[in-house]
Symmetry: C2
Subunit: 334 residues, 2 copies
């Protein structure tokens, strides 16, 4: 902790103390065995003593490469993206890449600003989690000329690559199951109206209309939460007293609905079937447990990182869009 010097140590500092040139120190850092054993020891000792920290700025300058992948998450408060980020990081770190995380609160403009920021740090690749972008975002990504993966969905015209699942089909499937179980008045509960909420709504609508029912939408612009779920149920019951099913854009809302329903003595699934999305842990401790559409988030993260890294290694993937599927986590709420 004897910080005699005010400035961060550089290769030059280390070299000077030993009486060699910075070039030798640079070589040591990349491959310790490329320098003489005696030199090696001296350098190692000095690096240890000074607490030298690598400086990526020069590499960013000369090669426009930062060994970093930028990750854009819609929100930090949504547990869904934690496993996704872990999948990315597992693959990235095993290939010597760092990850830089930014979040944009489901806002196009905020996404644009965060992407500009990440690009200004010369990230080598980008992993996005929305498929709707501003024109300037698209332009920046175009000029940056780096590999980009849009994760979670399967856009018809991806910017570059995409890894995700068919949310619409998943919704169609499970809503059809609900109908087949005898439910007739199923409402769709959505919040925040991001693109996945809309896709699920489409799948829902197709399923109910296919059986001759009218879709019922209970929507809010608010950020989703457990308490919003509870509020939405109240709103739905006021308008549709014969409601017997709830298909929810996520588990937060689904759990909020279950808890509110049970407090009113509505039995689940007998009087009201509830289905969510994302299969979060909380659904498993509910009674009955929550039926939810599960997605391979960790694997989507892994695959996204693999695609970026392959592209950076000069091996662009032939296939541009990967569908990693979904499963239905069956619970007692349906």
């Amino acid at each position: 902790m004897s910080a005699t010097q005010k400035t961060r140590p550089t290769l030059q500092h280390i070299a000077d103390r030993i009486g060699i040139t910075k070039m030798t120190v640079s070589r040591y850092l990349r491959d310790p065995h490329s320098v003489a054993a005696s030199t090696r020891e001296k350098i190692a000792k000095e690096i240890e003593a000074t607490g030298y920290i690598q400086n990526r700025a020069p590499a960013m300058l000369s090669k426009a490469s930062s060994k970093a992948i930028g990750i854009l998450l819609p929100s930090l408060s949504n547990q869904v993206f934690a496993r996704f980020a872990q999948g990315i990081e597992e693959v990235a770190s095993s290939h010597g890449y760092q990850t830089l995380i930014a979040h944009f609160g489901y806002s196009d403009l905020e996404e644009e600003s965060k992407i500009a920021s990440l690009l200004s740090y010369q990230v080598d690749g980008l992993i996005l989690t929305e498929t709707s972008h501003t024109n300037r975002t698209l332009q920046m990504i175009g000029t940056a000329n780096i590999p980009v993966v849009e994760a979670m969905e399967l856009p018809h015209t991806p910017i570059d690559m995409a890894v995700g699942l068919n949310h619409q089909a998943a919704a169609y499937d499970v809503v059809t199951q609900m109908l087949n179980s005898g439910k007739k008045q199923i409402a769709y509960f959505g919040a925040r109206l991001d693109s996945r909420t809309k896709l699920r709504m489409q799948g829902y609508t197709q399923a109910v209309e296919a059986q001759g029912h009218k879709p019922i939408y209970i929507l809010t612009e608010a950020h989703s939460s457990f308490s919003i779920g509870a509020n939405l149920l109240e709103q739905a019951l006021n308008q549709h007293s014969d409601l017997d099913g709830a298909f929810c854009t996520n588990d937060d809302i689904a759990v909020g609905i279950m808890l509110a329903a049970q407090q009113q003595g509505i039995s689940i699934p007998h009087q009201l079937a509830v289905v969510g999305n994302n299969a979060l842990d909380i659904g498993t401790v509910m009674s009955p447990s929550l039926t939810s559409i599960d997605s391979p988030r960790f694997e989507i993260g892994q695959k996204s990182a693999e695609l970026i890294i392959s592209a950076l290694a000069g091996v662009p993937s032939e296939q541009k869009v990967y569908d990693l599927g979904y499963s239905i986590s069956a619970g007692g709420s349906l």
Copy 2:
């Protein structure tokens, strides 16, 4: 989208097309009114057309400044840190600073590696969320010579600055309330044993011992979750059939306990009082609602960012440790 050039546009490219030097373009970017009106228009047009993206690498090289603040979060799946990050970003962005987020899964070593990474990108300041660090972490921070805030807790010997609250006192207070309400066999439920879990445990222990009771610890190394809460309750009831209170390190565990208890017909709070930490939204939709210790996370984030930015502006704060207090969000579970 006519990407004729493969390389990212630079100031030089833009200058060449107009027939001026890059220096003028550089000036324009920092202050558009520092160049002649006619020049200004030409530059603006060209920047718009090329989709120029700022490159921070040279600034990082020459001034060792990146206009970025690094944030280290223990976990992305913990909702607690979302508001905290928002508080930081609100202040940072209003001062022209970006944020770079990394997470370390409550691991010292992972924290060290993420800090090394952030420092290699020349972040101008660091906001940490743990008070236990490896020696190498401390050394790196020392040599980096940048302002550092340890947020959430109130360490006795902060690295530099700290903003947080007294978790131990909060725990003492609320456990004392539990005891005063007539509970005698209160257990502490902890997971993952991070430093805040330990502080709360100390406060709990002091409170129960002050009234002549023996502390009961129900702990797990596992990552906390709703289902872990349910499991821990089962374990606790096996060992202590007369359990009448549960003080939990967080709301995930508390809610898991409440749901599991209610499924067994245990009435809350009559037979079992439950108290959590963090006052998450889910607690408000439980029935009864969850009593929980609430913390000013957004404000902690704001204050942390303010301290960093003041220090960077050359106005170091006299006071090094800020206690932002806590409140008890009263619910029916106590």
